[in-house]
Symmetry: C2
Subunit: 226 residues, 2 copies
Amino acid sequence: MESKAFSEQAKTTLARTLAPRVAERTTLVDQVANRIRREIILGTLDPGRHLVEKRLAEDLSVSRGTVREALTRLASTGLVEFSPGSGNRVRYFSDSDIAEIGEVFAALEGRAALHAVLPPSPAAEKELRDIAEQMRGLRLPDDVEELMRLDREFHGTLMNQQPKTKLVEAWQSLESLLAVMMVPIMRRGVGTSDSQADRHLLLVDAAMTGEPELLIKGLEQHYYQM
Amino acid sequence: MESKAFSEQAKTTLARTLAPRVAERTTLVDQVANRIRREIILGTLDPGRHLVEKRLAEDLSVSRGTVREALTRLASTGLVEFSPGSGNRVRYFSDSDIAEIGEVFAALEGRAALHAVLPPSPAAEKELRDIAEQMRGLRLPDDVEELMRLDREFHGTLMNQQPKTKLVEAWQSLESLLAVMMVPIMRRGVGTSDSQADRHLLLVDAAMTGEPELLIKGLEQHYYQM
DNA sequence: TCGGACACGATTGTCCGACAATTAAGTGAA
DNA sequence: TTCACTTAATTGTCGGACAATCGTGTCCGA
C-alpha cells in the first residue's frame, strides 16, 4: 500500500499556499496544481508514482474533476505522464533527459540574449547579483525549494531584460521542467549553495561584458555543468 | 449574435478526425481539442473570440467538462487565453509575436542541429525532399491545412534525425504555436506553395553539407523569411 | 448630458453522483 | 512457469446543480 502523500489538512492550507499574490485570482485548480507540482519537485511523490484521481481528491478534499484538471495542466508542462486509460504517473527523467532539458534552456536563453539590452542596466545588474548572493546562505538539502525559486527568479530577470515576450513565454511554459531537473542535481550534491551562487555570478559577469556571444557561451556552460 | 462555428454533425466526424493513427487510443477530449484547434488555426474561430463552454458543449454534443478539459489543454499550448472568471478566448498574435515564435523554433531546431547526424542518411534525405516536393502541388488558400501538416512533418523529420528526445519534446509542446503563425502568413500571401517547397529544399541542401553551422544559418533564414 | 450605483442575466468554478469501458491484478489451470 | 480468465480498481464521460463572479444595461442624481 502506498503511503499517503497528502495526509494532513488540505483545504485550509491550500487556500493560502501561494496566495499572497497581488490580487490575481487563484482558482482551486491552480492551488491543487501547485500543491502537486511542489510534491513532485520536492520528491515527496517519486517518479513513476501512480497518481490516482480519486485518492488525490479525497486527500485534498476537492472533487475529482478539480484534480483531473490540475493533472491535465501538469501533464501539459511535462511533469506528469498521461496514458489514456491507465492513469497518470509522475514522470521519470533520466540523466540524459536532464542534460537535454539544460540544452533547451540554453538555446532559449541564448536566443534571448541576442536581443537583450546588453550590458544590463545598473539596476538590473544589482538585482541579478542580489539574487545570486541570496543563494549563498542556503542550507542545501532543506532549502532546495528556495534555491529553485531564486534560480527561476534569476533566469527570469535575465530574460526579462528585453521585451521578447514570446521567448519568455516559451521559456515559462517549460519552466517546471527546469525545476525537476534541479532536484536530482541537488541531491546528487553536485552543487553546494556557494557554487550555485558563484556560477550565477559568472553569468552576470558575462552579461556585463555587453557581448552577447560571451553570455551565450556562459549560458551553455552554466547548463552543461549541471 | 455570434455565428455558429460548429453547426454540422459533431460526434460522427469527430470520431475520425485525425484517427488513422497506429492504434493510440484517442479520447473524446483529444478529439474535441483537435477540432477546436483546427478551427482556430484555420481561422474559423477568429482571434479574441469568446469560447463559451456551454455553447461549445452543445454544438459538439459533449459535456461541458469535456470541453473544459480540451480548452485547458489548448490554453497550455498557448492557443487559448484563460482569464479566470471571465472565460476563454482565442488568442491574438501580433506580427511581432509571430516573428518571435519563429525565433523560438529557430533556436530549438538550431540546437538540435548541433546534435544531428549530419549529413542525413540517404533515406532521410529522400524523405525530406519528398515532403518538400509534395508542397509544390498545393492550391494555396484551400490547402493550408495540408501545407501545415507537411511543414510539421518536415521539421519533425529534420529534428528526429537525432535522438534528442527532450528537444523534440519541447519542440512538440510548442508546435501548435507554429501552426498559428503559418496561417496569417499564408493569408498575407507571402509564400506560394512553390516558394514553400523551394525554401524547404534549401534546408535539405544545408543539412546535406554536413555542416551544422550552415544548417543553423539556414534555419534562421527560413524562419526570418516568414 | 454624463458619471455612477444598482440589478440582472450570462458564464465560470466547483461539486456530486453515476455508469460503461478499460486496465491492472490476482487466481487458477495447463 | 505461463497462459487464460475473473475480478477489482480506475479512468473517461455524462448530467445536473449551485454559488461566485463578470459584463452589461438601466435608472438615478448631479
